[in-house]
């Protein structure tokens, strides 16, 4: 251990607290790479300590308090790391669904992108790929990405453009969405644009 004052598991606590803060404030914090790395380093140190202790204890009787202590610390660290990452993936998945499964839209946002670790981006891509694969079987009958909180009542919907999004190709031709104007369109065509905040239902 580098610092005298620190106990085993201090770093892991910090990590968990960060996750908790993120949940409470409902914001995505930057992936804390340095902290994760130092915890992993601590794990290795603990591992060496265990091996050393066990090596010294030649007459192993089954109860070695020191080794037990180290092992508990290792297990706790592991749980904290897992909790942190599970929290991260949950958040990412939530974000993914919040924009209606539009991954490019999510990743194009530099703010969000800066907060993600490279392997998190990979995770999102793969997650997206598996979703698409899953959907492809019954995409004609059911759109599982559709919102369930507000079931659609109409095939068509009157929308108003709140952010310029240019010409959009739909199944029935292209529509040039201009800021501030209203369009009567097929709901299925522009559902994702509503979710992404380009259009607003009137």
């Amino acid at each position: 251990m580098s610092s005298e004052a620190r106990q085993f598991g201090d770093l892991a606590t910090q990590l968990v607290q960060e996750a908790r803060r993120s949940t409470l404030t409902d914001t995505l914090l930057k992936y804390n790479d340095t902290l994760v790395r130092s915890i992993v380093r601590e794990q290795r140190q603990l591992d060496t300590l265990i091996t050393q202790t066990l090596a010294q204890d030649v007459t192993f009787t089954g109860s070695n308090p020191a080794a037990l202590l180290y092992q508990t610390a290792i297990q706790r660290n592991k749980r904290c790391l897992l909790a942190y990452h599970s929290h991260r993936t949950d958040r990412l998945r939530d974000m993914y669904w919040a924009v209606g499964g539009a991954l490019p839209h999510l990743l194009a946002n530099t703010d969000i992108r800066a907060k993600l670790a490279p392997h998190e981006v990979d995770y999102l891509r793969e997650y997206n790929a598996s979703i698409i694969e899953f959907r492809s079987d019954f995409t004609a009958e059911l759109d599982i990405a559709a919102s369930i909180t507000h079931p659609p009542k109409d095939l068509h919907v009157l929308v108003r453009v709140v952010r310029d999004c240019g010409a959009i190709q739909t199944e029935v031709g292209s529509i040039d969405f201009r800021y501030g104007q209203r369009y009567m369109v097929r709901r299925a065509d522009i559902e994702h644009l509503i979710v992404q905040g380009y259009l607003q239902e009137v």
Partner: protein, 684 residues
């Protein structure tokens, strides 16, 4: 044949509204891969067009037609929009509501800009119509479809005259073709009335080239004949501007034939008609003609009103959205105001009693006292007035008001119940609210009074600044943010001169009113805005009369507003027109009273009302031909006058709306322009 006749005149050879509608549907369905942006409805900013747009949208929605509604503020904005639309290759149906009938659209330089399969449908209540749109055939002519109300059927003579003239022109040599061209190119200023202008040039006594040419080609129609034809066509254009069947009425007929009529559509049609009447576009006679149709429709679609409530005082149940017929009093928003205020702010009462003077107000109090209404009760909101007074109100008025010269205090109208959301809303009140929203929902700072705050003793704390409700209230905040954050998003609002801000206000106001059509709470709130508009009108109107700002020059009453608290409001064409109508009503009796002795023939004096627009450095001018009697609507001749004046004085004139008698002239040109208007009038 490129105009449609109403269904009762239709036959297999003569297409009607339904044929046009099914053509639109067919065109939409035939091209499933490009149908998303193929139908566009352009709507003028008035209540009639607004309702018609809403009705059409409803019909299209039933038929799964994807469409887009684009509000258009006025002539210049129309050109911009058309330029933009010309780029849309997939567009095949363009519907113009309350605009375009006077413009010559069946020409290569308008319709040629668009994709080849585009059809333009014109549903417009404004008259006269451009003969070219109505009668020209061929490739371009077929693509412009005018939804006529039967008036075109009676113009067969005119048609013959026009066709003969056109033929002559096309056979003529370069000279007259050139002349014709010269008339045509002014599309940009929307002064596309060749018939009118040409005739003015001819009538000027200048040796016409055409006459000489006539002699050179003796085998064509004789000179006298041609002149007669020309006079006929000229008469059509110069006889003045008026309104025929409301646009929403036309759409309602379409819905009737499609058998899709319901209470909502009927209500919208009624609003359109009431608007026409309230804004003096149609006479009492015409109003009653159309009213009787809607009266029958209301009886057909609704259960009879409960016996004890013939005035439409309350809804029967929470789901009661029925329409009822009722007599509407000519008081401004009287169901939502105190009786005294309502009478004070109605132009009819104002004119009869001279409300702008102390004496007039005394008369009004006297009238109320005679009716047995205490001051306390008349200062009370109508909703809080004593019930027996409410019941007796009409009888008392009928008994007492004639003593004060008010005989036409009521007209037949409708109310609509809105469950328990509000007391039944009358068509006239709804129109007031919608007009106020169209004129002043955003872009203008308006103070509105809080109901009931007056008798609470809070004289100075009773008002607040009007803010548009719902989506439009929150709208400003993110936009401000977006202007900073993302470029592109707010460009429309930033900069680009006054032109676009004004247009964008109109667009915002339009959507505001559009939403209010389906949202009763929005509409209810708009009534307080309407009251503020009324207050502004009476404030400005009485100050004009008080200060004797009306100059009488060469047979015209001219009023120029250069300052005042409500300058901004009256820069809106709609609001200025209302002020003009108020003045016309107020002045009618006053001037007659003084002039009636001298002349045997009564004659009204046309009114020119101008308001200075500080931002644009321009004057907004409205010309009103006031009627002799209340309820009469003469044709408005200012459209032609203004056009001729513009021609002679070479001023920059712009149409501020789609009505030809409302124009905008630059500050520097104003005096010149008005002088020219007198001169033109003297000449003819």
């Amino acid at each position: 044949m490129v105009y449609l006749c109403p269904p009762h005149l239709a036959s297999p050879s003569r297409p009607s509204y339904t044929d046009a509608y099914s053509d639109i549907l067919a065109a939409h369905r035939r091209s499933p891969h490009t149908s998303a942006s193929s139908v566009i409805i352009l709507v003028a900013p008035d209540v009639d067009a607004l309702c018609a747009g809403r009705m059409l949208a409803e019909l299209f929605k039933h038929d799964d037609v994807m469409h887009r509604i684009v509000p258009v503020a006025g002539g210049a904005h129309f050109n911009n929009v058309c330029e933009e639309l010309a780029e849309y290759t997939e567009l095949h149906t363009l519907i113009l509501l309350n605009m375009g009938s006077i413009m010559e659209l069946a020409r290569a330089d308008f319709i040629g800009n668009f994709a080849e399969n585009l059809h333009v449908h014109i549903i417009d209540s404004q008259r006269p119509q451009s003969l070219q749109n109505l009668f020209v055939g061929g490739e371009e002519g077929e693509r412009v479809v005018v939804w006529d109300d039967g008036g075109a059927e009676e113009m067969s003579e005119l048609r013959a005259a026009w066709e003969a003239l056109m033929e002559e022109v096309s056979e003529d040599g370069d000279a007259s073709l050139e002349e014709e061209k010269d008339d045509d190119v002014d599309w940009e200023t929307r002064s596309s009335r060749p018939g009118k202008r040409q005739s003015l040039a001819d009538g000027n006594g200048s040796p016409g080239k055409r006459r000489k040419l006539d002699k050179a080609h003796p085998n064509r129609i004789s000179r006298g004949q041609a002149d007669a034809y020309r006079r006929q066509v000229e008469k059509h254009y110069s006889s003045g501007y008026w309104h025929a069947q409301s646009t929403s009425g036309t759409v309602y007929i379409l819905a009737t034939v499609l058998e899709r009529v319901d209470n909502d559509l009927l209500w919208l049609a009624i609003l359109g008609l009431t608007y026409q009447y309230v804004i003096c576009r149609i006479s009492r006679e015409d109003y009653e003609k159309y009213h009787s149709i809607y009266h029958d429709e209301v009886a057909r679609l609704n259960p009879p009103a409960p016996a004890n409530d013939s005035y439409g005082l309350a809804a029967v149940g929470p789901d009661d959205h029925s329409l009822r017929t009722t007599e509407e009093l000519r008081f401004a928003l009287w169901r939502h105001w105190s009786l005294y205020d309502a009478m004070c702010h109605s132009s009819y009462v104002a004119g009869k009693l001279g409300i702008w003077k102390e004496l007039g107000r005394k008369k009004l109090t006297g009238l109320l006292a005679k009716m047995g209404f205490s001051t306390l009760q008349t200062q009370q909101l109508y909703a809080h007035m004593d019930m027996d007074l409410k019941r007796d109100l009409r009888d008392k008025l009928e008994a007492i008001a004639p003593e004060y010269g008010m005989v036409e205090l009521s007209y037949p109208s409708f109310v609509r119940c809105h469950g328990y959301h509000t007391q039944p809303l009358s068509a006239a009140d709804a129109v007031e609210g919608l007009t106020a929203l169209l004129d002043a929902a955003t872009g203008i700072r308006m103070e509105v009074e809080v109901d009931g705050a007056r008798n609470g003793g809070e004289w100075f704390g009773g008002g607040h600044v009007w803010r548009a409700t719902g989506k439009w209230m929150t709208d400003d905040v993110p936009k401000g943010r977006m202007n900073g954050d993302e470029d592109g998003a707010g460009v429309e609002d930033k900069g680009e001169g006054e032109e676009s801000t004004l247009a964008s206000w109109t667009v915002k106001n339009f959507w505001n009113a559009f939403d209010a059509l389906s949202d009763i709470s929005c509409l209810n709130e708009s009534l307080s805005l309407a009251k503020s508009v009324h207050r502004a009108i009476i404030r400005t109107g009485s100050s004009i009369i008080d200060k004797n700002d009306i100059r009488m020059t060469k047979g015209y009453n001219i009023v120029t507003i250069r300052q005042g608290p409500d300058l901004e409001l009256f820069c809106q064409p709609g609001a200025l027109l209302r002020l003009g109508l108020w003045l016309a009503d107020a002045l009618r009796d006053r001037i007659q009273g003084s002039a009636i002795g001298k002349r045997t023939r009564r004659k009204t004096i046309p009114l020119i009302l101008a308001c200075f627009n500080e931002r644009a450095h321009a004057y907004l001018i409205v010309g009103i031909n006031s009627a002799l009697d209340f309820g009469d609507v003469p044709k408005n001749e200012f459209g032609g006058l203004f056009l001729a004046a513009q021609e002679y004085s070479h001023t920059r004139m712009r149409y501020a709306s789609f009505e030809t008698h409302i124009v905008e002239v630059h500050e520097a040109d104003f005096e010149n322009f008005v002088g020219e208007v007198y001169r033109v009038n003297e000449r003819y």
